[in-house]
Amino acid sequence: MSRNEFIQACLKNDKTARHQLIEQHYGYLMGMCRRYAKSNEQADTFFSQAFIDIFKRLPEYEDSQDLNVWIKKTFLSSLIHQLKSNRTEYYVTTTARVDEKKQHSDLFHQSEQEDPNNLLVEDYIKALQKMPCSFRAVYNLHVIEKMDLKETCDLLEINEDSAKNTLERARHEFSKNVKLKMQGY
């Protein structure tokens, strides 16, 4: 079955085609959901809603586009929309100030035995999940997805200064969480 036929079958509400589409993209899309969510349970709900959005927008797909790129882009926009729709979680946590650097100065100095780059991926994901929602969003978009700061600002609908500030604090928060993870917390 060609890609075009596969899309047409999905548009005609073919269950097998839809199931196949989900199965093909489940792995990395669920990994993405876990990075943006605060827990694995929330990641499941994000995934379901994002995939529903994909099926709703599937008629907008054009043959000239890469299907994987289009699905990833649509999935990401749906995730950001879901994050922002949860306003109490997204905006209230941004008020948390990162002023613990001096108090926990040991956290930011590593010993020879400690290497933050040798952790498991699940540990990094847990470190990300501990971060506030807005920090997590900015860090994921700019650092992991490697988006420009302007692109990130446009997607999150924030100005560049606040994005920079949030990114700095997010980096600090992630390092702290990784260090704590390394120490077994």
Partner: protein, 229 residues
């Protein structure tokens, strides 16, 4: 002392790890998703063509055709207007003399009612003359039979009255005069007759009284009863 170097996370390595992170497929977790997706009915939306294409293939020819129509019909219209205006000017010249107002003279019609009124009127003033009054004075002295004669006398002076009525030029107060004069004369006659009747009655009453007095016994014949007191 333990050597401590700044805590640094290699973001590129982290990115690679996280982007290559895949979660193993769990079919059980898709039960909810499949139920939800069954309700979604995808339909191909109707896409409007781009504005450029619309302009190229439809708007430009339509505009050209519209301009052509406007130019053609506008020219014809101007032509018609100019022709009409020229025709109108000619007609104005031809119809320039204003129509003369028609004056109708109805002399004959005016004369007719005058004649009729004149012919009708003369009967009324017959009795208005002074002469009938003189006749009425005679009536006062005469009896009832003289009234008829008076009436006949009133009828006689017709020829004299016509001259008087012609001077009045068709006025109709004659009827009033007629009634007034007649009533006066008749009332006078009636008064005279009533007076005569009253006189007769008085005379008859006197005679009756005399008769009764003669028929009734005298007061001297009546017995006079004197009270004993």
């Amino acid at each position: 002392m333990e050597d401590k170097k700044p805590f640094h996370i290699d973001e590129n390595a982290l990115r690679e790890k996280l982007l290559n992170y895949h979660v193993s497929f769990n079919p059980a977790s898709l039960d909810f998703l499949e139920n939800e997706i069954d309700h979604i009915k995808t339909s191909i939306p109707f896409k409007l063509p781009e504005i450029k294409k619309i302009l190229q293939f439809s708007a430009v020819p339509v505009i050209i055709i519209a301009f052509g129509f406007v130019a053609y019909f506008g020219f014809n219209y101007i032509k018609d207007v100019s022709e009409k205006s020229a025709v109108k000017k000619d007609t104005v010249i031809t119809t320039a003399p204003p129509p003369k107002p028609k004056v109708e003279i109805k002399n004959e019609e005016v004369k007719a009612p005058v004649v009729t009124t004149a012919s009708v009127t003369p009967e009324a003033p017959k009795k208005d003359t002074i002469e009938p009054v003189a006749t009425t004075t005679t009536v006062h002295k005469q009896t009832k039979e003289t009234k008829k004669i008076g009436a006949e006398q009133v009828v006689t002076p017709k020829k004299e009255d016509t001259t008087q009525t012609t001077n009045l030029a068709g006025a109709k107060p004659d009827s009033i005069k007629k009634v007034a004069v007649d009533t006066a004369s008749t009332s006078k006659s009636k008064d005279s007759t009533t007076k005569k009747k009253k006189k007769k009655k008085k005379n008859s009453d006197v005679t009756d009284d005399i008769r009764q007095s003669t028929q009734q016994p005298n007061s001297a014949d009546d017995e006079v009863v004197v009270p004993n007191n």
